[in-house]
């Protein structure tokens, strides 16, 4: 039995040498970040291959929230399918409804009347702000900043109150109908929206004050999850992720829909394509959304809110693809009609599904804690990934 005091202390060379000579020569560790996890924004399973704490690669296993929405669409009429659409990206339900209603309106060759379009734009941009606020709260919480969660959820309540007054529901709103809107804007709608704009502007400043120059935030998000613009295009990534990588593209400007032509707003882009840039892009998008709402609420024209659509909707035979700029990216609907009251095929092109594909590439060489930050920054909603 050797006396421990006579053993020489381990030096770096012997320690490293000893490590190489052990029988555990496989450096790779496979860890499962299971479907139940507080930081995966839903039921997402990520299988990580690690070398110590560095990520060598990862694989996403999805499908835990698959509800067969596309199959259901083939068994419902066009109007009956409208509420199902909200449940996919349940955070930004109004945008989903806008995309679907506009796609079917294109098939029917009707256009919603101007008053309906203004109110649609206001509700959609309010929903964009709500979605980004939820994103900010949960993303900051994953990284460790607890306060933004409380601030953003408190301020989001005002938007949800407006939705509730308008259509009765806070989250899965079913706000739009094919051909326009069902409900007229309630008395005091414009006043509520104007009050909200004045209320939330200093709040966004508050969020920025908490995070934008915060040293811990900068350390955790600068240089994390970098993806270049070219890779984004090759991988089909859209939305704020694409814009933060330097590609100035927004469907509201490139292929405008629902009278976005009438409004003046800017598209923010980032320089580095890292998590910090995506954060900044989304903050600017919130402010630009407020700008759009300001312009829209001052000019809502009078008129009907519903176009003349038949009670029994039978669009002519054909196909259409229509996409909108949802808060998460390009949300597209490919609808095939066979002339009957039920769609023949509805394909939803979900932005979160395609964005999630980029996770593997964005996390190579990063640490495990950065994986959480990147999942948060991609802003995925599993309801949309799985449908």
């Amino acid at each position: 039995m050797t006396d421990p005091k006579t053993l020489s202390p381990p030096s770096l060379e012997t320690h490293v040498g000893a490590h190489d000579n052990t029988f555990l020569d496989a450096n790779e560790l496979v860890i499962n970040m299971g479907p139940q996890h507080p930081a995966t924004h839903g039921v997402l399973r990520v299988i990580l291959r690690l070398d110590g704490e560095k990520v060598l690669g990862l694989e996403c296993v999805i499908g835990y929230l698959h509800r067969g929405v596309e199959k259901i669409a083939e068994n419902r009429t066009y109007t009956m399918f409208n509420p199902y659409v909200d449940r996919m990206d349940y955070v930004a339900a109004v945008s989903n409804g806008l995309g679907y209603c506009e796609a079917v309106e294109k098939l029917l060759s009707v256009e919603a009347p101007p008053r309906a379009q203004y109110i649609r734009v206001i509700l959609t941009e309010l929903n964009r702000i709500a979605s980004h606020q939820l994103w900010l709260g949960t993303h900051a919480l994953d990284i460790g900043a607890i306060t933004p969660l409380f601030y953003t959820f408190r301020d989001r309540e005002e938007i949800l109150k407006i939705f509730e007054k308008y259509c009765g529901a806070r989250l899965t709103t079913h706000a739009f109908r094919i051909g326009g809107l069902q409900y007229e804007a309630y008395d005091g709608f414009e006043k509520d929206v104007k009050n909200f704009i004045a209320f939330v502007k200093p709040k966004i400043d508050e969020y920025e004050e908490l995070l934008t120059t915060n040293r811990i935030w900068l350390e955790r998000t600068r240089g994390v999850g970098v993806i270049s613009g070219k890779d984004c295009i090759a991988l089909g990534v859209t939305g704020p992720v694409l814009r933060a990588s330097g590609v100035k593209w927004d469907i509201r400007k490139a292929q405008p829909y629902a009278n976005y032509r009438n409004f003046d707003f800017e598209i923010p882009t980032g320089l580095n394509g890292d998590t910090y840039d995506r954060y900044l892009v989304r903050m600017v998008e919130m402010r630009q959304a407020l700008r759009i709402i300001e312009q829209a609420v001052d000019g809502i024209p009078e008129g009907p809110v519903m176009a003349k659509v038949p009670k029994v909707m039978k669009p002519p035979v054909g196909e259409i693809y229509h996409s909108i700029e949802a808060p998460k990216g390009e949300l597209g609907y490919f609808i095939v009609s066979d002339g009957s009251t039920q769609p023949y095929r509805v394909r939803v092109r979900p932005p979160s599904f395609v964005n999630l594909q980029a996770l593997d590439m964005m996390c190579r060489g990063q640490l495990v804690a950065d994986v959480i930050a990147v999942i948060g920054t991609l802003d995925i909603v599993l309801g949309e990934v799985d449908r």
Partner: protein, 158 residues
């Protein structure tokens, strides 16, 4: 652009327009070639979506659809082709990296196999599931009861 394709491929390509949206109906034999040309020469660098539609009564029941977008031209185009049950079609993962998961979903839902796909396995449904739900002969309430019984320990998911 379509004029150039027509000259080269003659009857293999049919350009059509419906409701202001352009699409090309292409013969199956031309498939990876046309898509490669669209990306390299015509700058359709962004593959928006890959999907399929099932028409059971046709002799070539599946319609595979690629929706492409070009950033420089700000233009969208659809490419459609018809394939028969059991036939496989070339994968475009080497052309657009985004096709990886999109083709896996088409395989999962319809059973259409893609040649040269790096990892063609089910994505939304569990790995051992039998059946391809978005086909028209799969019932709306149908489930793979065998999988449910073995894996979940209950008689039926309904």
């Amino acid at each position: 652009m379509v004029a150039k394709f027509k000259r080269q491929y003659g009857s293999g390509i049919t350009p059509l327009t419906h409701l202001g949206q352009n699409y090309l109906e292409v013969d199956r034999s031309l498939i990876p070639e046309i898509l490669q040309l669209l990306r390299d020469d015509e700058q359709f660098d962004y593959c928006v979506d890959i999907t399929a539609v099932h028409y059971p009564k046709r002799d070539k029941p599946f319609d595979v659809v690629w929706i492409l977008y070009s950033f420089p031209r700000n233009e969208r185009v659809r490419v459609k082709t018809q394939i028969a049950d059991g036939e496989s079609i070339a994968s475009v993962v080497s052309i657009w990296a985004t096709a990886n998961w999109l083709e896996r979903e088409v395989y999962d839902m319809f059973g259409i196999t893609f040649r040269d796909h790096p990892d063609l396995k089910r994505i939304l449904l569990p790995d051992g599931w039998k059946g391809h739900p978005l086909r028209k002969d799969y019932g709306i309430l149908q489930q793979d009861s065998e999988w449910v019984q073995i894996n979940l320990g209950i008689d039926s998911g309904q």
